[in-house]
C-alpha cells in the first residue's frame, strides 16, 4: 500500500494509455530507428567511427532525439489533459498533488528512456564500444529526467508549453550554447554530455561543463521542476464562464 502513496498506478495507467494509444505515439517510432539505423550503416560502411560518430550520436542522438522525445512526451503527459479539460477528473480526488505529479513524471521519464536513452546506448555500442553506449545511455537518462521535470512544470506554467519548450531547445540550447559558452552552464544537453563523457571516456563525446556542476544542476532542475509543478497543480484554476 505504501507504493501507492508515491506513485499512483491508476494515474500512470491512464496517462500511458493517453500518450501511447493515439497517433501521436507513432511519432516516437522513427527517431530511435533512425538513430540505430544510421549507426548500423556507419559501421557497415567500414569508415572509422571518429568520422561519422559525432554526427550521429551527438548531432542526431543527444541533440535532437533526446530533447524532442522528452518534449513531446513531457508536455503531453499533463498538458494534453489540461488542454482537453480531463484533468478535472484527476483533480477532484482527495489525492495529494505530489502523487499526481510524480505519477506523470514517472510516465514521461519511463517513455523517454526506451525511446531515446536505450537506442542511444545501442547506437553507441554499435558505433564504438559498450562503454560508449553505457555512457551515452547514462547521460541520456539523467538528461531525460531533467527534461521531463522541466517540461511537465512548463505545461503547468504556461498554456503553450510546446512553444516555450521549442524556444528553449532551439534558441537556448542549440543556438546560444553554440555561440555563447556561458549558456552552456545552464543547458541540460550539456549535462547529459558531461555525464556521458565521464563514463564513456571516448573522444566522440566532448563536454565543457564540469561533472559536479552537471550533477548538481541536473538535480536542481529535476527537483526544482518537480516542486514547481506540484505547487502549480495545487493552485490549478479553471476559468469561469465559457472559456
Amino acid at each position: 500500500m505504501s507504493t501507492i502513496r508515491i506513485l499512483n498506478p491508476t494515474i500512470m495507467g491512464i496517462t500511458t494509455r493517453g500518450l501511447l494509444g493515439r497517433k501521436r505515439a507513432l511519432l516516437l517510432i522513427p527517431l530511435p530507428l533512425l538513430l540505430i539505423g544510421l549507426a548500423v550503416l556507419g559501421r557497415l560502411s567500414g569508415s572509422d567511427a571518429g568520422v561519422w560518430g559525432e554526427g550521429v550520436l551527438i548531432g542526431l542522438g543527444m541533440s535532437v532525439v533526446l530533447p524532442l522525445t522528452a518534449l513531446i512526451v513531457g508536455t503531453s503527459a499533463l498538458g494534453s489533459e489540461i488542454d482537453d479539460g480531463t484533468i478535472v477528473h484527476i483533480l477532484t480526488k482527495p489525492l495529494p498533488r505530489r502523487e499526481i505529479i510524480l505519477a506523470k513524471l514517472a510516465v514521461a521519464f519511463g517513455i523517454t528512456v526506451p525511446v531515446a536513452a536505450i537506442p542511444l546506448g545501442i547506437a553507441g555500442v554499435i558505433a564504438g564500444s559498450t562503454r560508449l553506449g553505457l555512457g551515452l545511455a547514462a547521460g541520456a537518462v539523467v538528461g531525460g529526467l531533467a527534461y521531463a521535470a522541466i517540461f511537465v512544470a512548463l505545461s503547468l506554467v504556461t498554456r503553450r508549453p510546446v512553444a516555450f519548450g521549442l524556444i528553449y531547445l532551439l534558441v537556448w540550447e542549440s543556438l546560444l550554447a553554440g555561440v555563447l559558452s556561458g549558456t552552456k552552464q545552464f543547458s541540460v544537453q550539456q549535462y547529459s554530455l558531461t555525464i556521458a563523457d565521464r563514463i564513456a571516456a571516448n573522444d566522440l563525446v566532448q563536454s565543457t561543463v564540469s561533472l559536479p556542476v552537471a550533477i548538481v544542476m541536473s538535480a536542481v532542475l529535476t527537483v526544482g521542476g518537480t516542486f514547481l509543478a506540484i505547487d502549480r497543480l495545487r493552485s490549478f484554476s479553471l476559468k469561469g464562464e465559457s472559456a
Binding site: 533512425l34 556507419g42 569508415s47 561519422w52 510546446v162 521549442l166 543556438l175
Partner: protein
Amino acid sequence: MARHETTPAAPTSVIHDIGYQRYEGTRLGRAHAVRALYASSLRSAFGLGRSAKAKFLPFGILGLLSLIGAVFALVRQLTGEGGGPTYYLGIPSNVGLLLIIFLAVVAPEMVSRDLGNKTLPLYFSRPIRRSDYALAKLAALITAVFAVLAAPLVIMFLGAALQSGIGLDGLWDEWREFSLGVFNAAFYAVLLSALSLLVACATGRRAFAAGGIVAVFLVSTPVASAGMEIGTGNARDLAGLASPFSLLGGVQEWVFDEGIEVGHFGPLYGLVALLLVAGCAGLFIQRYRKVTA
C-alpha cells in the same frame, strides 16, 4: 415594429419594412475571393490585424535578417572584401535556423488555426474551391518567406550599389549576382513553404505543428551530414538528398555552381526538389478534399 399613423397633418400612412433585406448588389466571384484569402493569409503571417505579440516573431525575424544583410553590406564597404557569387547565394543557407523558426511559427498560424477552430466549413461553403484555399495559403507562405529572405539581399545590393566608384560595369555585375541570389531565395521559399505547410496541416494545434516542422528539419539535418561523413563517392554526393537544406544546397550547386558538393548528381537534386515540391503541394491540397465539419 410597424406603426400605422394617421394624424391630420401627416400626408401619407406607411408601414416600413425594416426586416431582413436581401443583398442585391454585385457579387465579386471566385477570383476575388481567392485573392482576398491570399492577402489575408499574408497579413496574418506577419501578425497584421492581430495583437502586438503576434507581430513580434515574424517582424523580429525580418528585422534580424535585415540586420544581417546590413552587417554584410557594412563589412563589405569597410573591408572591400566579399561580393561575388557566394555573397548573395549564401544567405539562405546561413540563416537556416532563423528560417526554421519563422516557418515553425508562421505555417501553423496559417493552416492549423483554421483546422483547430473547425472554421473550414465556413470557407468551403463559399465560392472558393478546396484547391483554391490550399493554393492561396501556399502562395501566401511562399511570399512571406521570400520577403523575409529578399530583405537582406536588397539591403546588401543597395549597400554595394551605393558604393562610390563602382561604375556601370560593377553595378551590372552586382545586379546579376543579386538577381541570382533572388532566384535562389525563391527556390528556398517554395520548397520550404510546401514542406512546412504539409507538416502543419496534419494537426489543428499550432504547438504540435510547430514542433513537427522543427522536428523535420532538426532530424533530417544530422542525418544528411552523417550520410555525408559515412558515405564515400557517389553515396556521399547523394547524402544531401536527405535534408531540405542540403537538397537546396545541391540545387544551388547545379543551377548556380555555388552550393554543396554533389558530383554529377546536380540534375538529380533538381528533379528531387521539384518532385518534393509537387508532392508536398499535392498532398497538401489533397488534405483539404476530405474535410468534414
